[in-house]
Amino acid sequence: MTWDWSYAWSCLPLLWQAGLITVLATVIGGALAAVGGLPWAVLLRSDHAWVRRPADAVLQVVRNTPLLVQLYLLYYGLPHLGWSPSPLVIGIAGLALHYAAYAAEVYRAGFSAVPAGQTEAARVLGLSRWQRFRHVLVPQAIPPVLPALGNLVVALFKDTPVLSAITVIELLTRAKLLGAESFRYLEPMTLVGVWFLIASLVAAWPLTRLEHRLRRIPT
């Protein structure tokens, strides 16, 4: 089998469309996971067991079951509850939920690393609970965990092909379909591989810059 440039070119428009679905799922799913993980981590650190325990139980369920199972449950379960969003919406929600659990765990580690003396100093200065969180805890807990959060977004990105299970035609599924139609898999699959690599590297760049910005502060 030799590489056919003209066939590779002809694949590009359809792959491009499917690539947009992948990007959409990654950006929205990743943003929701990163944002949702923070309040989840706050619940995990609650002083009240009746808040902490349920938050931790849900976390364990989400983290310790396969993403595929969660997607199927949402896809076939939500209509029974009278709500039938599009497969893409369900897919993004599933990815967001799954990775929010991992993000919560990452944030929890970040908060635990802030010394107790920081909270005490803020308390004695009269800062309210919210002010302590916003101005003392978050600025110290988040920068060190940004690389871990970045890794999660990359993992989510590479998990997007799982959405094909619930009929979302993202990049990899489109490549398989193209291959099935023409019996040529080399070109679409190679293009998908290159696309994922380039997208990961491009996405990593702003994250690295953000890390550098936040690391200016000597510690």
């Binding site: 003396g117 308390r123 009269g126 800062l127 002010q131 101005h135 003392v136 502060i217 000597p218 510690t219």
Partner: protein, 249 residues
């Protein structure tokens, strides 16, 4: 200056059924410089942490001026008002590492006292001047020496204009050659401002230089109370003599 004596009565505190404070009664007059000494585990730091509202006592009351900090049926609002009257300087400084020296000093005045940026900076500048660190306003805490960090922590506490300023072993985490600058700053403040000061320390020299009253706490009880000359030179209790002998070598 308002008249805000600290009145502590019947204070009890235990950690995991291990009693640490067993019935403390202590009145600290407005503007007094009180040094709190005693063997490790004697309850000094716990008393200071109860006074600064970091620790809730099991029983007893603490009143700061007209406001009750701890006691039966003290409302959350009154507790909060009383808490605002107390400042604290920690052994480990506890500066906020993500903020500059100036940022550390203006955070609480802006958020809690509601000062504008300019007013907060101006006031912080005068306190930084007092501790000799105005030129370090834009420095990060990590670039400062331990002595400088502790002086920033003192300025940060004063920016909240506390009526009572607590010092929890402020020189214990410092290299020996840096202790002097912190002692000097506290000594100068004790001369120049009327804030009530409560100082926990292991250094007799520090207590002599700053305090006008010395209290010795051992096994959760006050066993000595008097002016520094009397407590250090003619202590009443054998326990105090042994303790002083141990720390002065």
């Amino acid at each position: 200056m308002s008249d805000t004596p600290v009145v502590i009565s019947g204070l009890h505190k235990a950690f995991a059924s291990q009693p640490v404070l067993t019935g403390i009664d202590l009145t600290i007059a407005n503007g007094q410089r009180l040094a709190l000494l005693g063997p490790s585990g004697g309850g000094k730091t716990t008393l200071l942490r109860v006074l600064s509202a970091l620790e809730r006592p099991d029983a007893g009351t603490v009143r700061i001026g007209d406001e009750r900090l701890w006691g039966d049926d003290v409302s959350a609002a009154e507790h909060e008002r009383a808490r605002r009257l107390v400042g604290m300087v920690f052994q480990q400084f506890n500066l906020f590492p993500h903020l500059t020296v100036m940022g550390n000093c203006i955070l609480a005045p802006r958020l809690v006292r509601g000062l504008g940026e300019d007013a907060a900076r101006a006031e912080a500048g005068t306190w930084l001047d007092r501790v000799g660190l105005r030129d370090k306003a834009d420095a990060w805490p990590a670039t400062l020496s331990g002595g400088q960090r502790q002086r920033v922590a003192i300025a940060r506490a004063l920016c909240m204009r506390p009526e009572v300023l607590c010092f929890d072993e402020p020189t214990s985490a410092l290299d020996p050659e840096l202790v002097g600058e912190v002692v000097t700053v506290v000594q100068e403040l004790a001369r120049e401002i009327s804030t009530t000061m409560v100082l926990v320390t292991h250094q007799v020299g520090f207590a002599r230089a700053v305090a006008d009253r010395v209290v010795v706490l051992a096994d959760g009880q006050l066993i000595e109370d008097g002016p520094p000359e009397q407590v250090f030179d003619q202590p009443n209790h054998e326990r105090t003599r042994r303790f002083l002998g141990a720390i002065t070598g």
